[in-house]
């Protein structure tokens, strides 16, 4: 009996991966076939991008600020507080900015998408849409995927900038570091390869955030309780996938950077 249960569990998980992959492929294929829902895409860009801006700005400011507090303390011990800007900017641009912002957006967007599509699923609105001749993947999934993939890199750029500003404020008022020195070192520490790394990640994370939300939303079963379950699962799975994929993207980009001499 336990073997059968394990067998069923594995099959279920493999099927879920297969369905998730197929959903991703169908949403990407929809980009190249008509009809294209541009108005829905712009609406989603507003909801996902502009809607996430306040939380991203607020969180990034304080992350940058606290990073300066933590790192400056170490550099002061070695008598080189001026290096704070280098470390903070590299950490923000390469790693902390993309990951933390993606996790924040996952909490807001993956859950929002999963609950919205999940509610539509359990109230038969998705079936109604199909019955009325509209492909839900084209109408609901592709606009959300495109909007998130385009908006997350922009949010990351803004978040990185605001994070550096947060660091600037703390370095000036708390550590008494020269703001110009901090800003110049922060700016000069970033090389092209760092930018590539910092901007490659949000594209992949955007795909994860939106597709995971759509997948759990469209596979919701079991009424309002099911919607709650899907919403939670979407956030958890998206967050874990972001952290796991981050390792592989980092390794790949470092390899590419070394290869290209960036």
């Amino acid at each position: 009996m336990p073997v059968t249960l394990l067998n069923d569990l594995v099959k279920e998980k493999v099927l879920a991966v297969q369905e998730f992959t197929l959903l991703g492929l169908r949403s990407l294929r929809s980009l190249f076939t008509r009809p294209r829902y541009l108005a829905d895409t712009f609406e989603q860009m507003d909801t996902i991008g502009v809607g996430s801006l306040p939380i991203v700005v607020l969180a990034s400011f304080f992350i940058g600020a606290v990073l300066v507090l933590q790192t400056a303390d170490q550099f002061v011990r070695f008598g080189s507080p001026g290096l704070t800007g280098d470390v903070v900017s590299l950490a923000l641009v390469r790693e902390i900015g993309p990951v933390i912002i993606a996790l924040l957006v996952a909490g807001r967007v993956s859950s929002g998408i999963a609950s919205e599509l999940g509610s539509m699923q359990v109230s038969e609105q998705i079936d109604a849409m199909r019955a009325l001749g509209t492909d839900p993947v084209k109408k609901l999934v592709t606009p959300r995927v495109v909007a998130t993939v385009l908006m997350l890199p922009l949010l990351t750029i803004i978040g990185d900038f605001v994070g550096l500003l947060g660091g600037l404020v703390v370095s000036n008022f708390v550590i008494r570091l020269n703001p110009l020195q901090y800003w110049t070192r922060s700016y000069q520490a970033i090389e092209f390869g760092d930018g590539v790394q910092g901007l490659a990640k949000p594209f992949v994370f955007g795909l994860i955030v939106s597709l995971v939300g759509c997948y759990f939303g469209l596979t919701t079963r079991g009424g309002t309780q099911g919607v709650g379950r899907s919403t939670t699962q979407a956030v958890v799975v998206a967050s874990v996938l972001i952290l796991v994929s981050n390792l592989f993207i980092t390794k790949t980009v470092l390899w590419v950077n070394a290869l290209m001499g960036w």
Binding site: R34, P35, Y37, S123, E124, Q125, D127, A128, M129, R130, A131, L132, G133, T134, D135
Partner: protein
């Protein structure tokens, strides 16, 4: 014999170990109304979803207007779905869209993305016309959340009717409604049947609804119902199917059902 509009040929469907439909075969002809009766959980709604291609059968074939839809891809099904209108049991109205947008949904989609070339005024005229048909023109700009259960059903009916499909699928359209509202919905369905000769597959577990549809016609003069008459002959083109344990247990005219001496049928009628 009239043209076939819908045919189920030895259809089987299950979920996991549980087989819900087992070898279901029947045909709906043009102008005919087939009433699908049966206890809850016997697979009546599944038959409607199968006709739309929203679900795929595990075995057997389904023909819609002569086309075998069993193996068709989602995109290939869209043109056929335009010829089918469905009223969902839970209404399935888009809750973030107004009544107007719900009813006009198909026309707007077809105008923006399809081959239709309708001006906004023309869409509104058609929406108002169909809302007038279901007696809800005054609710055109309301949201579904502001409507009662009966009003939502009528909006669902209007949405199904906007493109005047030749085949209509009703999934328990009177379930959970008070007798007066249920009568209003049934009168509209009879009006549709008798004035537009639409073919229909009507799922219900309410016997009174089934016999009302089978025994009455729409009276255009009074706007109400009148007994169909016919001295025992089925003049309304109505046929009954009784599902039991995923199979068709009884198939026949209304009077056959009433005179059947099968114990299960008698118990169902009681």
């Amino acid at each position: 014999m009239a043209e076939e509009v819908l045919r189920y040929d030895r259809v089987r469907l299950g979920f996991g170990e549980d087989e819900v439909l087992r070898d279901v075969s029947f045909t709906l002809h043009r102008g005919e109304t087939v009433l699908l009766l049966g206890a809850t959980g016997t697979g009546k709604t599944l038959l409607l979803k199968l006709a739309l291609g929203l679900l795929k059968p595990d075995a057997g074939r389904i023909y819609v207007l002569g086309t075998d839809i069993t193996e068709l891809e989602e995109e290939e099904l869209f043109p056929l779905r335009e010829k089918l209108g469905i009223v969902f049991q839970e209404m399935a109205l888009f809750d973030s869209l107004s009544v107007y947008e719900n009813v006009a949904y198909r026309l707007i989609e077809e105008t923006i993305h399809g081959g239709l070339d309708l001006a906004e005024e023309e869409i509104e005229r058609r929406v108002r016309e169909v809302l007038r048909f279901v007696g809800l023109e005054e609710a055109i700009w309301k949201l579904p959340a502001d409507l009662s259960g009966g009003m939502k059903r009528r909006v669902g009916l209007a949405r199904a009717l906007i493109t005047e499909p030749p085949v209509l699928l009703y999934d328990s359209p009177t379930a959970g409604l008070d007798p007066v509202t249920a009568q209003t919905i049934l009168t509209l369905i009879l009006r549709l049947r008798d004035t537009r000769q639409a073919s229909a597959l009507f799922v219900t577990h309410r016997l009174q609804d089934a016999f009302l549809l089978a025994g009455n016609t729409y009276d255009e003069d009074s706007g109400g119902l009148r007994p169909a008459g016919g001295n025992g002959v089925n003049v309304t083109g109505t046929r009954f199917l009784l599902l039991r344990d995923g199979q068709i247990y009884f198939e026949g005219q209304p009077q056959d059902l009433l005179t059947a001496d099968d114990p299960y049928v008698r118990r169902f009628l009681a």
